[in-house]
Amino acid sequence: MADDAQTSADLKEKRLGLALLASAFVVATCGLIYELLAGTLASYLLGDSVTQFSIVIGTYLFAMGVGSWCSRYVTTAEIAVFVRVEVLIAAIGGGSAAVLFLLFDRVSDFRLPLYGLVLMIGALVGLEIPLLMRILKDRLEFGDLVSKVLTFDYVGALAASLLFPLLLVPHLGMIRTGFLFGLANVGVAIALIVMLGRDLRLRVELWVGIGVAVALAAGFVAAERLQRAAEVGVYGEPVIYAASTPYQRIVLTKQGDDLRLYLNGNLQFSSRDEYRYHEALVHPLMSRVAHPRDVLVLGGGDGLAVREILKYPEVRSVTLVDLDPAMTALFSRSALLTPLNHGSLLSPKVRVLNADAFLWLRANRRQFDAVLVDFPDPTNFAIGKLYTVSFYRELVRALAPGAMISVQSTSPLVAPRAYWTVATTLEAAGLTTRGYHVYVPSFGEWGFVLATNGAVPRPGPLPHGLRFLTPQTDALAFAFPPDMARRPVPVNRLDNQALVREFEAEWAVYEG
């Protein structure tokens, strides 16, 4: 009987030893995954991947050193401490990506939570290996111990570094990757508790571990909503921010120094060439208005057009009407985005109104010297209403004497009928129009229409420091080659939605 008991205890010890070694593999993998998540997130959200990765890795390794050093103060009940550390890492590391994504547009300095998390995770991971070694030291020879633990540690690291870019980020996305590895971490803790059974009184740890596991699993499932996995594949670039508002889905992607905004899957700008678009939207208009004092922007919640408008010192007020408060808040607050629009939405000259443009315009009694209409392309009937003759008639009421309008009007190359429908419709509202177009690499050949009561004046001086528009490029923009030349098209009305139909037909051909 005693022999049997002895054998059984030996067996149990052996099994536990093996399990502990396996856990070395798992914790190493998880540890590296958290580090990679933090590094990737930092380079997505803060830019400059070399700097970000380098700082994150440095901070992380330093924190691990702190953790290792602290392990000396653990003198009793190493296994219990190890289990608790595992549960903690699972909770903090597993949720780190989600927390960072959620905080991204809510904090003014994103680096604080980022490095805070990196330090915490690093310190806890630093505790793991020394503790594990001390737990195993009675079960293995020293040489054997070091070689085995470190082997599992390094193999785990290799696994993580291969899995992360090849499988996890493209297929799961970063948030779910975090949750998944948190689950693996807490799984190790729970497995150890179960194996140790009644030897150690770890009931509280067990329940906390199960709680963390459930929370992580729920997070994993809910992450589907937080950041649709599909999106990771839909956008060509890594998604760094995604939010569904009552009005639209806002997605930011970043690859290298190229930051892109998508609304409902449609590209709104690429930080690489948006200056071409926004200079073209704003300056042909602003330079032609004699005294652009009060300016109205419809749409354009990214504040990029406003950035250009504020280059005219004569401007005393800019009224920006954008439907989505989430959009204007994001572009007012985020430390990632305000450098792009020069904090334009926070300028004391700028008043941001979150309202439906058509309804706001019908109620509006103010007049403006310059109006920029920067709505999304007319991809559906709801947006199509914002391009109708009824809308433009309301807009005419908002024009001060000598005022001008510029309207983003889709691509005259891809959709010439749609493009000229906008001009024809503005004319049906009693305005004189002049179309122009520029090349924006991320969009292609893009068109705008200038409209005003009476003749379109010649341009005045342009502000200094423009990167695209000069008197020469302005003049060139008004020439239309035959493939984009004006053609007879119907007026877009609320009751015919001619534009949406033209737009759909032409882009369908283009997109095959």
Binding site: Y247, N380, F381, A382, I383, R493, L494, D495
Partner: protein
């Protein structure tokens, strides 16, 4: 009866049965859907049949009394007001004027309870054009064509049809047609186009709105002797697609199956519309969230001082040189006598016949179609594969006429919660039987039927239905059966018998805003002529 028609009927019965089973299966443990069961006040209407009204204890006097505050009564009052007449009263049975054009409102939107649009008026509908001009809905003229308030013209897309599993543009199927379908549909619409453009030697349109201005060519009037089904049969147009569409049309405008609709009315539906506008396409309509409730609301606002609602008029009798009108003032519970020089009876024929001395009005076979109208409040707009949400959404396989979106004219660029107005004419049983059914069924039963039908069309609405308010119209509209139009009875019923003048769309046989307006205006002008009051003829 043809094979195709039976197929359609069998389909609808099977559909209704399936819906019933669905409703039963879902019943268990389900939370009740909020909503109300409303309708033209049955108790007040039925009280008329019972008689036994208190003798009048109060007497009032006026020059002209209008009895009935629907579109005809309001139009009569409008004409009087336009002519500067001030001494007239308008008595209405219900607590609100507006008749079939009445509307409701909740936190999400205003919505129609009945009629929900006005087609761009025909050039001969001078009265309506003037009314719209006065209301600022007709804003001007361009090249001889009226310009309308662009926000009132139904926004695109206006119609879609759920057919063969997908929402499609328009209401006539144009996919999956057999050569026979294609031939019959083409031939039918070509024939309608001939009727639409035809004029008689006096230049009158073959099918006018108001219908009284129609040509009287014998071959046209002869259409009235047949049912629409018989007329189609005689042409050999049996395509189930054509017949299905024709059935939809007859139920839509007349609440009646095509085999019970006069062919004259059937053709009128397809060939009567010739309205044009400088700023709208052919076949456009004017609409508002509350449907024609908008029009009667504007009219009622101007006429407010003349309105007496909640008055059950039970006796209208010529007396001395005028007329006495006895009514029960529901709110005060007392009988009130109104002495007038003339009375315009702007109530349905079956009610008018009841309150005037026996023998004044003949029966004339005036039948009425019962309807159910449900207003369904939803958290999000309906979607569906194919054509985007339209104003009018019809499912080919549904027994209902589908739904109209109350928020369709909204300019908001992101659609949210809405009210869907769902229509069902109880056309597949005799009207009296349908009215009994209407009274027997509970709110819950109607709600389940509405919900199941709606979810059949738009499964995407599952979980989005907030409430269903059901409205019952026992006598929603006149049923224009064969021989109704041109056999003499209809004309005799409308002939004035001074000091009594009759005004109701019943007298046109077509339950249309334009007809009610025309009848009301004609009666008011005749009454004014009797008293030598000068007025500008609104109708020429």
């Amino acid at each position: 009866m043809t094979v195709s028609r039976r197929t359609v009927l069998a389909g609808s019965v099977a559909g209704a049965a399936a819906l019933g089973v669905g409703a039963l299966a879902l019943d268990a443990g389900e939370a009740a859907i909020p909503g109300t069961l409303g309708g033209a006040d049955f108790a007040r209407g039925h009280r008329l049949r019972g008689g036994n009204f208190p003798a009048p204890t109060e007497t009032q006097r006026t020059d002209i009394a209008i009895v009935g505050g629907g579109v005809a009564g309001l139009s009569a009052a409008w004409a009087l007001a336009n002519a500067g007449v001030t001494d007239f009263r308008l008595l209405e049975l219900e607590d609100h004027s507006g008749g079939n054009a009445r509307s409701g409102r909740n936190a999400v939107s205003a919505y129609p309870l009945g009629a929900h649009y006005l087609p761009i008026p025909n050039p001969e509908a001078k009265g309506i054009l003037r009314l719209l001009e006065q209301l600022g809905i007709l804003t001007g003229w361009q090249g001889g064509k009226p310009v309308f308030d662009p926000y009132a013209i139904v926004a695109d897309p206006d119609e879609r049809l759920l057919y063969l599993g997908k929402w499609r543009d328009g209401l006539v199927p144009d996919v999956g047609l057999t050569p026979q379908d294609r031939h019959d549909v083409t031939a039918f619409f070509a024939a309608m186009e001939v009727f639409r453009t035809r004029r008689d030697s006096a230049g009158r349109p073959a099918f006018a709105i108001p219908m009284a201005l129609s040509a009287r060519d014998p071959d046209l009037l002869a259409l009235d002797k047949l049912s629409f089904t018989q007329w189609l049969d005689a042409r050999g147009w049996h395509s189930p697609v054509l017949r299905g569409h024709v059935r939809y049309a007859c139920r839509d405008d007349y609440g009646t199956e095509p085999d019970q609709v006069s062919a004259w009315a059937g053709v009128h539906y397809f060939a009567g519309r010739r309205g044009t506008a400088a700023n709208a396409d052919r076949d456009a309509v004017l609409t508002w969230p509350e449907g024609n409730g908008y029009l009667v609301g504007r009219m009622g606002a101007r006429l407010k001082a003349h309105l007496d609602c909640g008055r059950i008029v039970h006796r209208v009798a010529p007396a001395n040189s005028g007329v006495v009108i006895d009514s029960l003032d529901v709110a005060r519970g007392i009988g009130v006598r109104l002495e007038a020089k003339a009375a315009i009876l702007a109530m349905p024929h079956f009610v008018a016949r009841h309150v005037v001395p026996e023998g004044t009005l003949e029966d004339g076979h005036f039948d009425y179609a019962p309807w159910i109208v449900a207003n369904v409040t939803v958290d999000r707009p309906p979607a569906g594969e194919g054509t985007a949400l339209a104003w009018d959404n019809v499912a080919w396989n549904s027994h209902s006429l589908g739904y109209v979106v109350a928020t369709h004219q909204s300019l908001a660029s992101v659609p949210g919660a809405s009210v869907l107005t769902w229509y069902l004419p109880l056309s597949d049983m005799p009207p009296a039987e349908a009215r009994r059914l209407m009274l027997d069924r509970s709110l819950e039963e109607w709600q389940h039927m509405v919900r199941d039908d709606l979810l059949g069309m738009n499964p995407d609405l599952a979980g989005a239905i907030r409430r269903i308010d059901v409205w019952r119209w026992g006598h929603a509209m006149i049923r224009p059966g064969p021989n109704f139009f041109w056999s003499g009875a209809r004309e005799r019923a409308g002939a004035p018998q001074p000091p009594l003048y009759f005004a109701h769309s019943d007298l046109s046989g077509l339950s249309l805003f334009e007809e009610a307006h025309y009848r009301g205006t004609v009666a008011a002008q005749a009454a004014m002529a009797q008293f030598g009051i000068s007025y500008a003829d609104a109708l020429t």
